[in-house]
Amino acid sequence: METNTPLLQVEDLKIHFPLRRSLWKMVVNEPKKSVKAVDGVSFSIDKGKTLAIVGESGCGKTTLGRSLVGLNTLVGGKILYKGEDISANNAWATNRLRKEIQYIFQNPYASLNPKMTILNTVQRPLEIFSMYDGKHRTERALDILGRTGISPALAFRYPHEFSGGQRQRICIARALAVEPELIIADEPTSALDVSIQCQILDLLMELQRELTLTMLFISHDLGVVDYISDEVIIMYLGHIVEKGNTHAIFKHPAHPYTQALLEALPRRGSSRHQAKLKLEGYISSAIDPPKGCLLHPRCPYAKNICATVPPSMKEVDKDRYVACHFPLGMTVDNRDSDRISFIAKE
């Protein structure tokens, strides 16, 4: 394995959930429909970096995250971990991968077994992977709990005796117990109170630095993403619309959808800035997505080509990609080629 292979590579990932057809439809032989939750997503993460996946509800980000730990099956595409293809179902049959890729769930009130003490919860992964031995396991579990801010005196308590923020810390401890390399965090702060969110974000960042973790951070909150991630992927209806360096994208968004998201964010201030870009209508169906560019029914800049030709991912800057026929602030050199050079308008 070369040293500069990205830790995780995803190529053209597709996850579809088939819909049950009614008896009538089966008789009439109507074509099978499915919800195209993730429909052709490609990206990569380098070791030690934090990549955020941002999108509104229904964009497929959670489905994508879960497929990276084997909780959803792929319909197409590949996942490569350290260069190795782990897309098949049987890649997760042994626990080997689970030691290296861990997951933090969104709802801390639901992701801990109410019948297990928190010590047991954090110790279980160590037992499963036969790490340390006997007594040392308990020490290690207490150690990691301590690092996430949970006092060892609380070891024999049950989840319901803890607040949301504490429960999330326990979940983080559980995920880190096996010393993984890649952590996928699915909206870890969304269910927490505002004054606690920052604590958890800081904890995650600190642990990442200490343990050289690579993190995939899923969120709908652009402010949080801006704070915690190096690179970001913006998803809409199962596709990536823009990806690249977080600060660069948030400062100068190239895709109308990104722009709309940023415009819609409440800004701390005393008066509302006038939104320059507003999307019309509502999100289209994931069962029957629009032809051409997925956003075209709602995009104020849509032209004829947007309704017929799906835009491909084009490089607009070093490591910045957009899937749009008319990226904002850019004039296109040569529209027909894949490797297009853009000239920034300003």
């Binding site: 709802n107 301590g146 060892p152």
Partner: protein, 309 residues
């Protein structure tokens, strides 16, 4: 990563903490439970009543002045309650009080046995059906549908016709009746729990399937299952009484309360007292079971976020 050495040496905290660990003793936990349960009146009253009945059942020989089939024809038959016979005597000169006391064993025993068997057999089947889904689930559900459509009494009668009457038959028939209900409940609990995030979390940390069922799903199901168990005790007592009343269940001279009721029918005018006491006994046991079950259900309300059970 092998055992023993680790690139992250266990810190001071870990070592010190382990020595400081104090597991709450069993005594402490029991104390906690009782102080928590005390607030719930139904639970306490029903609980004490059930406890009382259980004690009576266990200590029957010590409480009853006579055995249940001691016929003293020399003494007066169908006597009214007196100091010697607090509940009077029946048409065979047997002491009704003793028969009611011994009858506690029969009724409570049969109820617990039947509902218990039904639960022990039904719950694992239901859990498997819920967890595996697919054709197995469909098969089990349709089978249970079939059994559930047959009324309890009819089931007992049919089985009696096949296997002959008697205690064993009653138990078998009633257990059969309770299996589908327990299976359904377990199945629906598993369905709702297997989608929970902590089950997904268990998969992600590498827990094997059997452990997920046993340590993650099952412990979170037992609440409603226990409630169903206690509430059904009452209905089992009534069912057994009904079956015995009809003559298909326990045979004389075993003092089933239902049988006693049936026997007393013929003497309604001469000694109406004969049907009151067995009837009252049934009432008390059913009430106790219902109160306890209701109280338990309130206790296990989601409000308490899954504490204790």
């Amino acid at each position: 990563m092998s055992t023993g050495e680790s690139p992250h040496p266990v810190s001071e905290i870990g070592l010190v903490a382990r020595d400081m660990l104090k597991k709450p003793s069993v005594r402490e936990r029991v104390k906690n439970f009782f102080s928590f349960a005390k607030g719930n009146k139904k639970l306490m009253i029903g609980g004490f009543m059930l406890l009382f009945i259980a004690v009576v059942a266990l200590c029957a020989p010590l409480i009853a002045p006579y055995t249940y089939n001691e016929m003293r024809t020399s003494e007066t038959l169908l006597e009214a309650p007196s100091w010697k016979h607090p509940f009077g005597t029946d048409n065979f000169g047997r002491d009704v009080f003793s028969r009611v006391v011994y009858g506690t064993r029969v009724s409570l025993g049969i109820a617990i046995l039947c509902v218990g068997l039904g639960t022990i057999v039904g719950v694992p089947i239901g859990m498997l059906a819920g967890y595996l889904g697919g054709w197995f689930d469909i098969l089990i559900m349709r089978l249970s549908d079939v059994i559930m459509t047959i009324p309890t009494i009819l089931m007992a009668v049919t089985i009696t016709a096949i296997m002959g009457s008697g205690l064993k038959v009653v138990i078998f028939a009633l257990a059969l009746v309770y299996i589908p209900g327990a299976a359904r409940l377990a199945r629906s609990m598993v369905y709702s729990i297997k989608e929970r995030e902590y089950v997904a979390a268990a998969k992600v940390i590498g827990e094997p399937q059997h452990r997920i069922l046993w340590r993650y799903i099952f412990p979170n199901c037992i609440g409603p299952i226990i409630v169903q168990f206690t509430l059904r005790l009452s209905s089992a007592v009534l069912a057994e009484a009904g079956i015995s009343y009809l003559g298909y269940g326990t045979q004389p001279p075993i003092p089933s309360w239902g049988l006693m009721l049936s026997d007393s029918q013929g003497y309604m005018w001469q000694a109406p007292i004969l049907c009151i006491f067995p009837g009252l006994a049934i009432l008390v046991l059913v009430l106790a079971g219902n109160l306890f079950g209701d109280g338990l259900r309130d206790l296990l309300d989601p409000r308490f976020k899954g504490r204790f059970v």
